[in-house]
Symmetry: C2
Subunit: 334 residues, 2 copies
């Protein structure tokens, strides 16, 4: 083991309103011991996800993150000591690592992941981000060639793959993002057909101009008024894929999405469906095989936003919630 202490970042208090970096505190603990059947893990990479903030609001698809405990997060960790059959030093696992250097876990529920280069791809295109885009768009959205796909938070970890996969499937891809630079990048680098800066544009009018016949599939990462605007422009038999509602995570603002929804949903016979990636674990292998083939053929570009050092995690999360990142944000811990 390379360290002698276990640095841990605690959520000191549940945030009221917007999350701030000083809602977190660093503490030093001793490195835990692996007991029989357990492995001692050293955290390598921590995933930053908008959902981390939603976990502070209460129980979601997992128990709430509580004040006074180590901040919850997914990550990649490496086995540094094994007292469990089937696990050896150097094995990599994807698990809830939390914001800390070390943790000991029972091996029973751990799944090994292959060591690839770069390792960061396990958290981006071959991880939650890429697989969420893949299963949400393809299995729920069922896109057909020539259809129009709109995605919000389009420059984010999931959105950037949604648009690229839509293009691969012969669809027209329109991104909604929060800056001109992101929009230029979506169109010029990633091949989106159009991108709209919702902070500047009249979203409704610009969207109508970009998709005059309406939207077949809207992949929603944000909820709120952007969802309302897209809802109003859905085509008959359109599909809305609900992946997240980041507009309502950071603060007490009520979630305003889907105003007027029942009438629109009936009249246009829309399908609105929520999901999280693990609902599609059965298609994991196919997703990763396809994503790898597309990446290796240069048909999908991968962009990551990798920070260094456990101590950067609070600022990295606060910035993510403000929309700073382009592609998947993560922190390299070791």
């Amino acid at each position: 083991m390379s360290g002698t202490v276990n640095r841990q970042i605690i959520l000191a208090e549940l945030p009221k309103g917007k999350l701030r970096a000083h809602d977190f505190k660093m503490r030093e603990a001793s490195i835990p011991q692996a007991r029989d059947g357990e492995v001692l893990l050293r955290v390598r990479l921590v995933s930053l996800d908008a959902a981390n903030r939603a976990w502070m609001q209460g129980e979601t698809y997992r128990a709430a993150t509580k004040a006074g405990s180590v901040m919850d997060a997914f990550g990649i960790a490496e086995v540094v000591e094994s007292k469990a059959a089937g696990f050896s030093r150097g094995d990599l696992v994807l698990t809830m690592t939390g914001w800390q250097d070390y943790l000991a876990l029972p091996a029973g529920h751990l799944a090994k992941v292959e060591r690839i280069d770069p390792l960061t791809h396990l958290l981006s295109v071959y991880g939650i981000a890429g697989r969420t885009a893949y299963s949400g768009l393809l299995s729920i959205g069922q896109p057909k060639e020539g259809e129009t796909v709109v995605v919000s938070a389009a420059a984010g970890s999931v959105g950037m793959y949604v648009g690229q996969i839509a293009k691969l499937k012969g669809c027209r891809a329109i991104g909604i993002a929060g800056s001109r630079e992101k929009c230029d990048w979506l169109v010029n680098e990633l091949g989106f057909d159009a991108a709209i800066n919702y902070r500047e544009a009249d979203l409704s009018g610009t969207l109508k101009a970009a998709a005059p016949a309406g939207i077949d599939i809207y992949f929603d990462n944000v909820g709120g008024t952007i969802l309302d605007t897209c809802l109003a422009q859905m085509k008959l038999y359109g599909r809305i894929i609900c992946c997240g509602a980041v507009s309502s995570y950071d603060g007490d603002v009520p979630d305003r999405g889907l105003r007027g929804a029942p009438m629109q949903i009936v009249i246009k016979r829309l399908m609105v469906r929520g999901f999280i990636m693990s609902d599609f674990n059965a298609e994991r292998d196919r997703a990763i095989t396809d994503l790898k083939a597309w990446v290796q053929a240069g048909r999908i570009k991968v962009t990551e936003d990798v920070w260094d050092g456990l101590e950067t995690l609070p600022a990295a999360l606060v910035g993510l919630l403000a929309g700073e990142n382009r592609g998947k944000r993560m922190v390299r811990v070791s």
Copy 2:
């Protein structure tokens, strides 16, 4: 022909706020002539539907109903004169008859319906109401034995069949209706497991008591706050079937349903889907075969609310929108 004039009821003015009977005016016109390829139809039964009011608000799944024209409606009509191949005097058709005694239509798009006794069943259990309940609940909702199904406007034309079909499929059926009498009828006559009078009860608390483990399927006929309340009590992988939003039809009240929806939809991975009956025309024969078998075996009870006389149509529609009816409301014109 038994009459010499064609009475027609005109929507004199588009309603502002609640529809009133005097928004309509009766006029007398001459009986139209059937031209080559056309049939002259005498209207027998006119269907009253909450959607009739929504048509006045603008384009929906059909063109808007306009001021100054004969009020639009579905109905059953009988051929009294045919100048079209394949149609003879006495044939029955289901079509947009409007609120009038006679109309002439090109036969090209008309579909004959069989003459059954009572004829009214063609507009209730074997018509739009029964088939909407059947296809919405079974094809969209995919109920499994032991699941909990909640339906609003449960004593209405569609809702009363939704609950009965749910029971047939081994589900627990809970109805939401607008009076104690309707609730008693749902439980004591139709076999619902529970019924809640939303005008008296604390809906949220009563629903929680009736379905402590939550709702698997919510069949929504009303939108608005009832939809919001049910949304909050959906179970993981629950399904919301959007059939109508009657709470928003009669007036200018904004449609408030699905507040907070994006978070709920993602966390619980809900599927929300809108439809109208004609989306399921491909399964019409199966639906009618099943419904007939269930009615004949006494497993589904049929209740209808039949008024007499074309002149009663305005009051019949206004009353329907106020929730007066129990079962399918229709007007016998001839």
